[in-house]
Symmetry: C2
Subunit: 460 residues, 2 copies
C-alpha cells in the first residue's frame, strides 16, 4: 500500500545513517507495510532498517517478510536478535520458514530455541509438507465444562496471552479429550455465573487431523464458515488449532495449482522467480512433449490425405483455420466444465444435462463460424477475381467442416473432464492445450471427409 513511492527517499536516509528521521517516518506504520518496504530494499540495507524497529513489532514484521528477506535477515542479524525472533514468532509461521531452509541451517537455528519452543518446532516439522500439521499452532486454550463463565474469564486473563486465537476456546475432559467448543461470542453474551456446559455450542464439532491434506481443511472452513478449527490426534485429544487467516493463503496456492494445470504446466510449487531454470523447464517439458507426440498424429492424418492435398492445394491453406476453431471451442467448453466441477456447481450425474446444453451451444457457435467461413472464402475469391462454381463448393466444404469441428470440439471439451472425473482422475488434466491437440487430429479427419463428399468429382 505504501512501499514503492517512498523507497528512494528511505534509501537516501539509510545512506545518510539518519536513523531518527527514519524512525519518525515509519512511526505509525503497520507491520505488514514495514515488511513490504523491507522486502523491497537491497539485501544489504534490509538488516539496517529492521534493527531500527521497536522490539514489540519486530517479530510481527518479520513474520510478514517474504522468505528471501527472512533468510537474509537470519544471516545479517546478531544471534541475540535471531534467538528473540525465533522464540517469539508464532509456531505456524516459524514452521513455514524452517521448511524452506537447508537441513544444516535448520539444525543450527533449532539450537537457539528454548526447550519448550524446540519441542514444538520439532513436532510440527515432523508433519509432511502440505499437511494440516504444518499450518497448525499448538497454542490454544482449553477449559473444562463444569467451570463457570467467571472462572473461564479469569483463566483466560491469566493463561490466554500466548493463545493463537481467543475467538474459539476448546472444552476438554479431564484427560484432554476434546468434548466441545466455546465461542468467545457465547462467553461475552453470557452472565458470569453460567456454566460452560450450558453455553457450549450444541452443534457437532468439526475437527481436523494433523496428517490431513491442507485442501481438506480449506473445504471444511468454506463449508462450515468457521474462524478456527481444532486439530485432534487419532484418539480425539486436542493437539492444536488452525485459524481461518491461513486459509486464504492455502486457497491461493490451490488456485495457482489449478490454473497452472489449465495451462498444461505441472504445479510449480514455488514462486516463478525462485524456481531454478532447469526446474522450470522440467515442469513444462513433460506436457509439452506429450502434446507434441499427440499432435504428430496430425502429420500422419495429413500424409494419409496426401493425394487429396496434391489435387487441391487450396484445402491446405485452410487447415490451421479450421482445426484451431475446434481447439478454441473445445478449450472454452473444458474451462467452463472443469471450473463448475471444481466448485461443485455440477456433478458427474449431470452429464446428460451438460451434453444437451453443449450440443445446442456447439451447433449455434459452429453455424456462426461456418457462416463467417463461407463468407471469407467467397469474398476472397471475388477479390482475386475468379469466383467460379468450384470456389462456391470449396466455401461450402469450409462451412460444413467448421460446423462439424466446432460441435465436436465443444462435445470433447465438455465430456472429457466428466469422463476423467468418472475414471477417478483429475478433470483439470484436460487442459486447454490437451483438448486442442485432441481436436486437431479429429478435425483433420472431419475436414477431409467433408471435402471428399462435397468436392468429389469436382476438385478431388
Amino acid at each position: 500500500m505504501i512501499g514503492t513511492p517512498l523507497l528512494p527517499e528511505i534509501r537516501e536516509l539509510i545512506e545518510q545513517r539518519n536513523f531518527s528521521a527514519l524512525q519518525r517516518l515509519f512511526g505509525d506504520w503497520l507491520p505488514v507495510d514495514l515488511a513490504e518496504l523491507i522486502s523491497d530494499l537491497p539485501e544489504s540495507e534490509q538488516a539496517i532498517l529492521f534493527r531500527l524497529l521497536p522490539k514489540d513489532i519486530a517479530t510481527e514484521t518479520f513474520e510478514y517478510l517474504d522468505l528471501d528477506a527472512q533468510e537474509n535477515l537470519l544471516k545479517a542479524l546478531t544471534q541475540k536478535d535471531v534467538t528473540h525472533i525465533l522464540n517469539s514468532m508464532s509456531a505456524d509461521d516459524r514452521t513455514a520458514l524452517l521448511e524452506e531452509l537447508p537441513g544444516a541451517v535448520v539444525q543450527e537455528l533449532l539450537k537457539l530455541l528454548s526447550f519448550k519452543e524446540f519441542k514444538i518446532a520439532k513436532t510440527l516439522l515432523a508433519y509432511s509438507e502440505g499437511s494440516v500439521g504444518r499450518l497448525m499452532s499448538p497454542d490454544c486454550l482449553s477449559v473444562k465444562k463444569d467451570w463457570d463463565v467467571d472462572h473461564v474469564l479469569t483463566y483466560i486473563r491469566t493463561f490466554g496471552h500466548e493463545s493463537e486465537t481467543l475467538n474459539v476456546i476448546y472444552v476438554v475432559d479431564d484427560f484432554g479429550k476434546l468434548t466441545g467448543e466455546l465461542l468467545s461470542r457465547e462467553l461475552l453474551l453470557s452472565a458470569p455465573e453460567n456454566k460452560v456446559e450450558e453455553i457450549i455450542s450444541k452443534d457437532k464439532i468439526i475437527t481436523l487431523t494433523a496428517t490431513q491434506d491442507q485442501k481438506d481443511a480449506l473445504e471444511a472452513f468454506k463449508r462450515y464458515d468457521k474462524v478456527a478449527l481444532p486439530v485432534v490426534d487419532s484418539n480425539g485429544y486436542l493437539i492444536g488449532i488452525v485459524t481461518v487467516d491461513d486459509m486464504l493463503d492455502v486457497a491461493e496456492e490451490e488456485e495457482t495449482e489449478e490454473i497452472q494445470k489449465f495451462g498444461a504446466v505441472e504445479a510449480l510449487e514455488e514462486p516463478y522467480m525462485d524456481l531454478p531454470i532447469l526446474q522450470l523447464v522440467k515442469k513444462r517439458a513433460g506436457w509439452l512433449v506429450i502434446l507434441f507426440i499427440g499432435e504428430m498424429l496430425t502429420a500422419s492424418a495429413l500424409a494419409f490425405f496426401q493425394d487429396e492435398l496434391a489435387k487441391a492445394i487450396v484445402l491446405a491453406t485452410f487447415i490451421p483455420l479450421i482445426i484451431s476453431s475446434g481447439g478454441n471451442s473445445g478449450s472454452q467448453a473444458a474451462t467452463l466444465i472443469i471450473r463448475s466441477l471444481s466448485i461443485g456447481e455440477i456433478t458427474i450425474r449431470d452429464w446428460w444435462q451438460v451434453m444437451k446444453r453443449e450440443i445446442l451451444s456447439g451447433l449455434a457457435l459452429g453455424s456462426l463460424l461456418g457462416m463467417i467461413g463461407v463468407l471469407r472464402v467467397i469474398i476472397w475469391a471475388m477479390i482475386i477475381g475468379h469466383l467460379t462454381i468450384t470456389w462456391v463448393y470449396v466455401s461450402i466444404t469450409i462451412g460444413v467442416s467448421l460446423l462439424g469441428i466446432v460441435l465436436f470440439g465443444t462435445l470433447t471439451g465438455s465430456m472429457l473432464p466428466l469422463l476423467l472425473k468418472r475414471l477417478g482422475l483429475d478433470p483439470a488434466t484436460s487442459s486447454a492445450p490437451f483438448v486442442a491437440t485432441l481436436v486437431d487430429v479429429t478435425g483433420i479427419v472431419i475436414y477431409f471427409s467433408v471435402a471428399s463428399l462435397i468436392l468429389g468429382g469436382i476438385l478431388l
Copy 2:
C-alpha cells in the same frame, strides 16, 4: 458430507409421511448438512422436509440453501413462515437472495419485513452488485473509549445478541465516527477495571467503503489477516461490518472469473447450469469470432506460400504439428506469467528478468521438441522405405522451425501479459487460445522462411 447415500431412504420416509422417523434421523445434523440434503431433493419434497425443522435452526438452514431451493421454498411455504425467515435471516444473506429475484417478487417480499428490517434491506440493495455494500451487515456493536471493560461486557450481554460478530467491536466518538477497534481478544485478556482507550488496538484502522469493489475488500483481508473489517461512509461514520467468512466466497468468484478468462470465455457471472443457453452462447461467441478472424491470417499466409506448398506437399503435412507446438509453449508461458502477476509474485519492473528466463526456457524446450521432430521425420522416412538426402533436409527444416517457433511462442506468451498490464489492460486477456492464435500466424511465416532457406534449390 452426508447427503447422497441417505437420499433414497429419506425420500421413502417422506413418501410414507413418517415425520417422526425423519425428525429422529436428522436430529443432530448441522444446518449446512440439512441444507445440502434439502437442495438434493425434488422441488415438491423440499418444503415438506423444511417444515419439519425445529424453528431455531430453520433460518440458518435456509441461509445455506442454494438460490434455486430458496426461491422454491419462498413459493411453497406459508406467508407466516416466509415472514419469519426473511426477518430473522442475516442481512447480508438476505441481500444475496433478493438480488437474484425478479423486481416484482422483491417488492412483495419487502412488504413482509418489519419496518427496521425493511429499511436495512432497502439500503443494502441500493448498493451496486459486486460492491462491498452488498456483503455488508449493518449489525455491529460500537462502544465508547471512556467506558471500562466491565461496562463493555455488560453492554455486550444486553445488546450484542444481534451482532454479526463479536470478535471485533468498534469504538466510535459521540457522533458515531469510527475512532478505533477493540478486539474481543483484548477484552477477554484485560482486567474489568481497564478503560477501553487503554486496550484499544494501536494500529492504524483499516476501513472499507460500501461502494468499493468486493475485490478490494478481499485484498485487504488477505493483506491484513483480519476476521472483520468496518465499513464507513465518506465522512468516516461506521455503517456496517464485513466478516472474513464471506471472503472465501468472493475469492472463489474472483478465481472463477480469472479461470474463465484463461479459457477465452467472458465471465459467466452465474452458475453454468443456471445460465440460459442463449446467454451461454453469447458469452463464448465474442472471443471465438475474434480468434477465428485472427486465425484467418493463417489462410492468407498459406495462400502466400501456395507455390512452395504445391512444390512440396510434404511441408503441408507438418503444418499443424509445428504451429501447435508454438501455441502450446506460448500457453504455458502465458499461464505462468499471468498467475504470477495476479498474485503479485512478479511486477512489470521484472520484465527483463522474465525475458531472460523465458529465452533460456524457450531454447531448451525448442531444442527438445526440435530433436524429437527430426527423429520423427527420419524414422517415418525409414518406415516408408526411402530415406533420401531430401528427407534429411526436410527433417532439419522441421527441427529448426520447431526451435524458432517454440522460442517465439514462449516469448510471446510471457511478454504479452506484461505488455497488456503496462498498457493498463487486464493481463488475463492474453488467454491460452489468444496466444495460440497469435503464434499460429507467425509460426507459418517462420516455418516457410526456414523452409525456403534450407530447401531452396532442393525441393523448392
